[in-house]
């Protein structure tokens, strides 16, 4: 077995052996105490190909990728790079051996420039040993030119949109001249146009003979970009197919091991009276003059590109960033909502877009996460928490939402994205809201959990809850909404009825 340093030397010498596969992983096993994350999994990556990995969250894709990227060491199994046995011991090892991973969570330093972020640890130095900024800039510009990325290398990362940060991450990975690029749901925060750009970059890289591992939950991306697809389920390898040989249904069946009969179980619900009426709502400099009525039992979808102000509207409604003008009338009462507390007093609930930043208390357990919101209003007598009752109710909620966790004492960090999301939804359902605002309720979660959440949203609407649902996913918006409000650059460009709405009409309004 070659040590990583030897392999590195082989790579730099240019005498890289020819091998049918860039990367071969055989019979890999990885167990965490109490859980077998990967069991006898094999995976092969051909040069000049895009290999999609699919599977529900928790299927083992991320664990496998972390093994390939040197983050975890496998318990058993073989690992070959270009046919040579190798054992990686750290992410740096992997990087130096030509494997770069673009993590789902972006790992950039916000207060440094784009160029500094990309070349960190590899800064060009001038003869006095100081960083040569001119050269740094030029190197970055050259890299961006080849990738056709239009970002100022001198911009600070914190000023970039999420999409642009993603581009920087990708450019950084490419800058290592890696053979293997692992992308973990790279499009989850991108708009359609940006996705197009990303795909162009991926095709360029493929043409250069690189192998790209592409983890995704989005079926249409799979068929657009991938050459091969491997499916995982419950830590086991299911199958690898050429993407031309399979259908969407085949893959879903392999992923869940069962048929999903209806992707969007929208129920026909009697729509009631207006619960909330919003007039000319604005937050100065962010969005302006958004007006709509929301009725009992209705699901109002909000569509628009990332950055169009969709999430800001939700934040203003819930008082996270209070509106600077406009009125919100709830059940006929004119209401000023200047804090989330006020919003909750009005029976509102808000599932935020960013699970990690504004949703989960990552270091706390499932129970503590679930009870956080309802504790502000209920289950407290004389300051003392009625924990027994509250725990029972959380337990019931967790069971009703089918949260997969050993028990409620598990840290929420250790749950998969879909299960974390269910816990957060449970947090809000415990408050028995009459207006439920959901910002990207199914972002980054697997097909099974997704359809469970969709079913739940329908059920809540059926019970008379008024729902506002923001989503970047067109099928979700079209499938779930009674009406669709479309935003573009801080303005509401139209409200479509379910009957008249289609993908093209929405895109026309969103990209005016």
């Amino acid at each position: 077995m070659l040590s990583p340093t030897t392999m590195k030397a082989v790579r730099t010498s240019g005498a890289v052996p020819h091998a049918p596969y860039l990367l071969e992983v055989d019979h890999v096993r990885k167990a965490f105490p109490g859980v077998v994350a990967l069991d006898d999994v094999s995976f092969r990556l051909k040069p000049g190909s895009v290999h999609a990995l699919m599977g529900e969250n928790g299927a083992g894709k991320s664990t496998l990728m972390k093994i390939i990227a040197g983050v975890y060491t496998p318990d058993a199994g073989e690992f070959r790079l270009r046919g040579i046995d190798i054992r990686l011991t750290s992410p740096l090892d992997a990087l130096e051996n030509g494997i770069a991973m673009i993590h789902q969570e972006l790992n950039l330093m916000p207060y440094m420039t784009v160029a500094e972020n990309i070349w960190i640890r590899r800064e060009p130095l001038n003869r006095f040993g100081f960083v040569d900024h001119t050269k740094l800039h030029a190197m970055t510009q050259r890299l961006f030119d080849t990738l056709r990325i239009d970002i100022d290398p001198e911009a600070q990362v914190r000023d970039l949109s999420i999409a642009n940060r993603q581009m920087v991450e990708i450019a950084k990975a490419v800058s290592f001249n890696s053979d293997v690029l692992i992308m973990d749901e790279p499009t989850s925060a991108l708009t359609d146009r940006e996705v197009g750009h990303l795909f162009r970059i991926i095709r360029d890289l493929r043409a250069q003979g690189k192998g790209i591992v592409y983890i995704t939950h989005k079926m249409n991306e799979l068929f657009e970009i991938a050459d091969e697809v491997s499916v995982f389920r419950d830590g086991k390898y299911i199958a690898t197919k050429a993407s031309g040989d399979v259908t969407r249904d085949d893959i879903i069946r392999m992923m869940v091991g069962r048929e999903i009969t209806q992707m969007f179980p929208k129920e026909d619900v009697a729509i009631g009276d207006v619960v909330m009426s919003v007039q000319n709502l604005s937050v100065r400099g962010i969005f302006e003059n958004v007006s709509f009525d929301l009725r009992k039992g209705e699901i109002l979808g909000i569509a628009g590109l990332v950055g169009s102000g969709r999430s800001n509207v939700a934040e203003a409604l819930f008082g996270v960033v209070p509106a600077t003008s406009g009125t919100i009338t709830i059940e006929g009462q004119n209401t000023v909502i200047d804090s989330p507390r006020k919003a909750m007093q009005q029976g509102m609930a808000f599932l935020t877009e960013d699970r990690k930043e504004t949703g989960c208390f990552l270091i706390l357990n499932v129970l503590e996460n679930m009870q956080a919101a309802v504790l502000t209003r209920k289950y407290v007598a004389g300051g003392v928490v009625q924990q027994a009752q509250l725990s029972t109710d959380c337990e019931a909620m967790s069971a009703a939402l089918r949260v997969k966790t050993p028990d409620l004492n598990e840290r929420i960090e250790n749950l998969s994205g879909g299960n974390q999301q269910k816990v957060l939804i449970g947090r809000w359902l415990l408050t028995k809201p009459r207006i439920l605002i959901l910002d990207e309720p199914t972002r980054g979660i697997d097909v099974g959990a997704k359809s469970e959440i969709h079913r739940l949203i329908s059920k809540l609407a059926g019970e008379g809850v008024a729902v506002i649902m923001i989503s970047s996913e067109m099928p979700e918006i079209l499938g779930m909404s009674d009406r669709i409000l479309v935003m573009h650059e801080g303005k509401c460009t139209g409200i479509l009825d379910r009957a008249e709405a289609d993908q093209i009409k929405i895109m026309e309004l969103a990209a005016k």
Partner: protein, 341 residues
Amino acid sequence: MTVQINPSRAPTPAFSGRRKLPPEASILMVMVGIALIFEVLGWIFIGQSFLYNFQRLQIIILQVSVIGIIAIGVTQVIITSGIDLSSGSVVGVTVMVAASFAQSSSATHVIYPSLVDLPVIMPVLIGLAVGLAVGLINGSLIAYTGIPPFIATLGTYVSARGAAKWYTKGQPISEFTSNFDFIGSGLTPTLIFLAVALIFQIALSYTRYGKFTYAIGANRQAARVSGINVSRHLVTVYAIAGLLSGLAGIVAAARQDSGQSGMGVGYELDAIAATVIGGTSLTGGVGRITGTVIGTIILGILTSGFTFLRIDAYFQEIIKGGIIVAAVVADQYRQRKRGKA
């Protein structure tokens, strides 16, 4: 990472929990280990037992009671991912103000010439009010101006010490009523320390106040979106920390039967040390009062043990610093191992 939970595993009933040692167990073992080391060294170098000496054990905890009372407030602040540097100065200013009202009628009065013997409740309440006031200032600055806790409490650290000196123009105050002195006599400080510990152990575990304190420390944004009034809660936490520093000042003054403006210097750092030794994470969201109590006692054992071994006082400090860091390193290492598990 995403740990996949094996769905086939039988569901465990909630709160039976998997068998896990409480987080304090390891720090308790560190405490016992340090005590045993002193025991062994005692037999080797001094020829007597360190632990088999009930009086010594009493003194250990008595000596750290003042630090301990402060540390209980500091623990709550650190759980919210804040810091309180002002505790030692709050002790100083409370000592002076409480002392000026605690003097017996026969003493030389520095501030109030015609002071009569006041009932003990008066200097106590006044002292607590002073501590509370500084705590409220800390909390309000942090919650409503948005400046970092480090800066806000650095400001009050300087100002409160100044106030302590200014109050009597640096003159000490002594000779208190016997009732006031009782607060610092015998095991009273120890009892106060343990009572305060018990109260806040309960508060952090079983009240809404406690749940919100952890939530804010774990993720302030998420806490706000969950409807928690973060600003108001932070004011409360810092006010409690100030109040407890005030209480510590009263106890310190009563123990010494005198008040000097320089009292409490460096206490804030000892309290922070006791807190982090006790397993509270400076990043917030994690920490327990029981851990802090053990951390405080570890500091006491170190001081007592070094004196027992007749180690040079200056040298003691050098070792103590090293041990504080080592204790936290060991704890973090253990936590990381457990986090992976």
